[in-house]
Amino acid sequence: MESIISVQHLKKYYKVYKKQPGLMGSLKALFARKYESVQAVNDISFEIEPGELVGFIGPNGAGKTTTLKVLSGLLYPTAGEISVLGFTPWDRKPEFQKQFSLVMGQKNQLWWDLPAMETFLLNKAIYEIPDTQYKHTLNKLVTLLDVKDVINIQVRKLSLGQRMKCELIAALLHNPKVLFLDEPTIGLDVVMQKVMRDFVREYNTTFGATILLTSHYMDDVKELCKRVIIIDHGKKLFDGKLQDIIDKYAKNKILSVVFSKETDQKKLETIGKVKSFEFPSATILVPRKEASRLAAKLLEDFSIADLNIEEPPIEAIIRDVFQNGK
């Protein structure tokens, strides 16, 4: 299948000026400024196929938002070839803009002191959405997100979760084929996070939209994305199935044990690194490849009531990836 988003060797450098601290620093900066080039994105390439839901993860300042902004045509890249829906984003052609949307969890496009409905109507005019299509999409989205009672209340009086739902509707009224979601669940409580996730999944399947999602919450990515791209310091560290991260980066497995008879920690350490031990439970880290053999040894040498072999949590693995990537 032909890719809908294609990024080849994307580079984006910013020039920022460094100020020395204090008043003297400010005075100096008045006359001579030291500029430094920051490599926000440094040679990233990837392809995304129509209908994919891809997680884009990385720590703060990794270059995620910069990449999304280049893909939306907000930023001109320093170098690289980018194509989204067959367009060069920064040409900002209306035909292109009518086919995608960018939702930023930390910024809002809704009119603050008017009901969200006003913004919807404005977007209808700007995106030239035909009446029937507008009514149909609005009804569908309002039902899906359960905000019927909310869209006619001033935005400033809504809760963060309600507002975010309305933000999504405003961004989706024109049925974008490509959707960039930048931290859509930021600041939301667990219940609302789940609602958002369900909605994103539903939108992906019903509308067949291609979605690129960034998030700090691993749960978002774990639940929604089969494929993830990990970037840090402007470089791509990983691109593939979430499961493959575990295979590639997780060096250990975790043995969770419940003992039926008293035992001592020293003896346990012959099996692997004891992470915690409080009778009757213990967790032991063992090299991945030897997990089965060591589990068998454990069963043989100790009196065991229960034993589980577990993968380390994905958060921990990714944290390791970031830390080793530096």
Binding site: M104, K107, L122
Partner: protein, 258 residues
């Protein structure tokens, strides 16, 4: 065209809704604006106690001039001030992003977002002033006058948008949007008060002194074609330059943070 008109209408409706939402704000600022208008009219009265004409303009002509000035000023202030303010703010705080994503001309979107109605009383006072002091005029003169008012507003708007666009290059320039309001002094007096080099500058090369003078002269049966040519040429050149400057600046725009 139809799309742009319907969007403009939508913005106008939203601005009206806002007005009803924040009535107190509207009344207060209307009062302030009316107060200033009355104050400036008093100033003319006092001035004409001392002299019978200013640079060849008698009292009645000056009141027509003042009416025209008020109309132009109230209209430009109502339509553009908040927008120009928001424009520079949006560059600084990064909200320009959303506008640039939409399939609509960004300059248009930035220029028509808010309409303020607090200057409406001033506009009405200006029209009353005209009605009370106007010599007999034909309908075609009135229509031509309205067209000239639009041209003058266009010049002011373009100048405003042009100066505000410098914000892209420094990211924080609070006072840049004050330049045009300060320049208003130039066209708050008839162009005849300027002479020599300054006069030539302000009526031919950068014909800001004609902004109020040219439409007023039309009503007073003293219309000069050369002035219209100067104003129109200036507007077209400045508008072209502003668009080019705006589009070039957007390339420089980098949003904030990441």
């Amino acid at each position: 065209m139809k799309k742009y008109f319907s969007i403009w209408l939508h913005f106008a409706k939203i601005s009206l809704q806002r007005l009803f939402e924040y009535r107190a704000d509207f009344f207060l600022w209307s009062l302030v604006s009316t107060g200033w208008t009355i104050f400036s009219l008093l100033f003319y009265q006092i001035l004409f106690l001392q002299t019978s004409n200013i640079a060849g303009w008698n009292k009645q002509q000056m009141l027509v001039f003042a009416g025209t000035y008020m109309i132009i000023d109230a209209a430009t202030w109502s339509i553009f001030w908040r927008n120009i303010q928001n424009y520079t703010e949006s560059i600084f705080n990064g909200t320009l992003d959303f506008l640039l994503l939409q399939p609509i001309d960004a300059q248009f979107r930035l220029s028509v977002r808010h309409i303020s109605f607090t200057n409406v009383p001033r506009l009405i006072i200006g029209i009353i002033l005209l009605a009370l002091n106007l010599p007999t005029v034909t309908l075609s003169q009135v229509l031509m006058y309205i067209a000239l008012i639009f041209l003058s507003m266009g010049v002011i708007y373009t100048l405003w948008f042009f100066t505000a666009t410098f914000t892209f290059w420094v990211e924080k320039l609070d006072n840049i949007i004050e330049i045009v309001p300060t320049l208003r002094r130039i066209w708050s007096m008839p162009s005849d008060i300027y002479s020599g080099f300054v006069g030539a500058m302000l009526t031919i090369i950068i014909p800001l002194a004609l902004i109020t003078t040219t439409p007023t002269r039309l009503l007073l049966h003293q219309f000069r074609w050369q002035e219209l040519v100067a104003l129109l040429t200036f507007f077209i050149v400045l508008f072209g330059a502003t668009r080019a400057f705006f589009h070039y600046s957007i390339k420089k725009y980098s949003g904030i943070g990441s």
